[in-house]
């Protein structure tokens, strides 16, 4: 089986983001960038499936500027076999456009499984997997916390839904989006990081894919969230309870 894992380069989750002065977006210059944490989980799941002999090839796909090569290398160091970069000039692409691009790659590569994070921690859209499954007209299993390949090649996926864990059985090819509980991504070892440098990354220009990329959602401005009003320090448990009861009225 072949897996296509889609990874996005985002601001590292530990960085405190800053809204640009002109309100056009969030500052990304000189900011530490990393692989979207949910996509790391997607890579890890594919690598685990390869280790258990279910998958024999893992392709790491990213869409973005040249710098996204680094993110692909991270995936290759974790255990991906080869990479594909769909090169853009770094502009923000709506999830629908991203879905259309991945569809083109998928139709060329014909993976059995497409695995990606349930959402990226920058735009928090939580759409790409669902869009892709719809465009490819294949089954989707979103928010996966457990993935099991059955002997008949169907896949049982336990999904994290509000209020519990739902299990569905889907058939191949399918799109799986990963949730936090699925696994704990490994750190790439130094030898594997060195090996990843030898692995092949194919680069294609997004303009050569003959997809009409149009912007359907316009960002008017980006603002800081309303700030919390300064709080007070209390001296003991009694005053804490008193404040919560009588001032905040929340207990």
């Amino acid at each position: 089986m072949k897996a296509l894992v889609c990874v996005k380069r985002v601001i590292d989750y530990n960085v405190k983001i800053r809204v640009k002065m002109d309100k056009s977006g969030v500052e990304t210059d000189n900011v530490k960038m990393s692989m979207n944490p949910f996509d790391e989980i997607a890579v890890e799941e594919a690598v685990k499936m390869k280790e258990s002999g279910i998958i024999n090839e893992i392709i790491i796909l990213s869409i973005g500027a040249d710098t996204s090569q680094e993110t692909i290398r991270t995936g290759l160091a974790m255990g991906g076999d080869r990479g594909i970069l769909i090169k853009t000039d770094g502009q923000d692409l709506d999830p629908l456009n991203i879905g259309k691009i991945i569809k083109v790659v998928s139709e060329k590569e014909n993976p059995d499984l497409i695995i990606l994070g349930k959402q990226a921690i920058d735009d928090d859209c939580n759409q790409t997997g669902q869009i892709l499954a719809t465009l490819l007209n294949c089954h989707q299993a979103t928010f996966a916390s457990k993935v099991e390949v059955n002997s008949d090649k169907s896949i049982s996926v336990t999904r994290e839904v509000d209020g519990g864990l739902e299990t569905i059985k889907v058939s191949l090819p399918c799109v799986i989006t990963t949730d936090l509980r699925l696994n704990e991504p490994r750190y790439a070892s130094l030898p594997n990081i060195m090996k990843a440098k030898q692995k092949k990354i194919e680069t294609l220009d997004v303009n050569d894919l003959s997809i009409k990329l149009d912007k359907r959602v316009q960002t008017i401005e980006v603002n800081d969230p309303p700030s919390r009003k300064p709080g007070v320090m209390v001296n003991d448990v009694d005053s804490l309870i008193e404040k919560l009861k009588n001032e905040a009225k929340v207990i």
């Binding site: 989707q140 839904v161 936090l180 980006v222 709080g231 007070v232 804490l240 404040k243 929340v250």
Partner: protein
């Protein structure tokens, strides 16, 4: 302008997220219909009929639609839309809506706007990005607006009406081959993190998993959900699904109590929509105090038993 709301329910009852979505819709237009897809869903329909703001409820009652398989719901919604024009399609931004709504948008070739928290006008909305560390004001250029609505940002609608119900027959619409194996409902007697009114969370300061028992008694008394910081989860004190923060659950309770949590950015990102935050930490320099309404500098091992006793 005419709005369609996709109802979240379990055939027996309507999920509160739906009522919040109706309120959001009422801020765009007063022409609002609701579509309820399910099987043997009469009791949920009886509940929904009481909703204020709705003009009509369309009901699809068909075997095979008892579980919210996104493919099935999407197929039926698309066929329903062939005979009904709407300018806006709203779904709650719960796991139900997040799973389903992008499929509807894609079939209509429009770009969904996820998780809106306020409505500026009929095509302009605010939504959180970077886990709420920034708010984007965005305008949809699509003809049909497909939106998911963050339920905690809109009060539930009133329930004093008696709305007309029309049955829609879509016998020929395809039912997917995905098989639904079941739902393992959270067995905890505690509320869910994402809908709890009160949450008490522990961090690395709890020192080990056993010490989380110190929070249980307090959670019982407050009817609170229990959570944890990423540091506590990474240290193996508690399971992953307890994690509150940017890469965990985003919460917005009336009261969030942070115990032994320093206040890393990624944790703050997940709790900043809480109405009140109270924190207990022995380090008076802990960043969590900058985001707290009430802070108490103290050794949690002395304070927690006292707090439990006095509540």
């Amino acid at each position: 302008m005419k709005i369609l709301i996709i109802v979240e329910h379990n055939n027996d009852s309507v999920k509160p997220s739906t009522y919040s979505t109706i309120t959001a819709a009422s801020k765009i237009s007063n022409k609002i219909d609701a579509l309820m897809i399910g099987y043997n869903n009469d009791s949920a329909i009886d509940e929904l009929k009481k909703s204020d703001h709705l003009n009509k409820i369309f009901k699809i009652n068909k075997k095979g639609l008892e579980n919210p398989i996104a493919e099935n719901f999407s197929n039926h919604i698309l066929d329903f839309l062939k005979n009904n024009d709407y300018s806006h399609i709203l779904t709650p931004s719960s796991t139900f809506g997040k799973n389903l709504s992008p499929k509807i948008a894609t079939e209509l070739d429009v770009q969904q706007i996820s998780d809106i928290i306020s409505i500026i006008d009929s095509d302009t909305f605010e939504r959180p990005i970077y886990a709420g560390n920034a708010i984007a004001k965005v305008k949809s250029l699509d003809k049909v607006k497909v939106l998911t609505v963050r339920p905690t940002c809109f009060e539930p609608c009133g329930l004093s009406s008696n709305v007309e119900v029309e049955t829609v027959i879509l016998d020929n619409t395809e039912v997917s081959t995905i098989s639904y194996e079941g739902l393992d409902e959270s067995k905890s007697d505690r509320p869910e993190l994402t809908s709890a009114k009160v949450i008490i969370s522990g961090g690395r300061g709890m020192q080990n998993g056993d010490n989380f028992k110190l929070l249980e008694g307090i959670a019982d008394k407050l009817g609170a959900a229990m959570g944890a910081s990423r540091a506590a989860v990474d240290a193996g004190f508690v399971p992953n699904d307890w994690q509150v923060g940017q890469t965990g659950k985003i919460v917005a309770p009336d009261l969030y109590v942070a115990v032994g949590i320093s206040g890393a950015i990624q944790h703050i990102a997940g709790i900043k929509d809480s109405k009140f935050i109270a924190s207990i930490n022995k380090d008076e320099e802990a960043p969590i105090f900058n985001f707290s309404d009430y802070g108490l500098v103290a050794d949690l091992f002395e304070i927690l038993p006292e707090l439990e006793k006095k509540l």
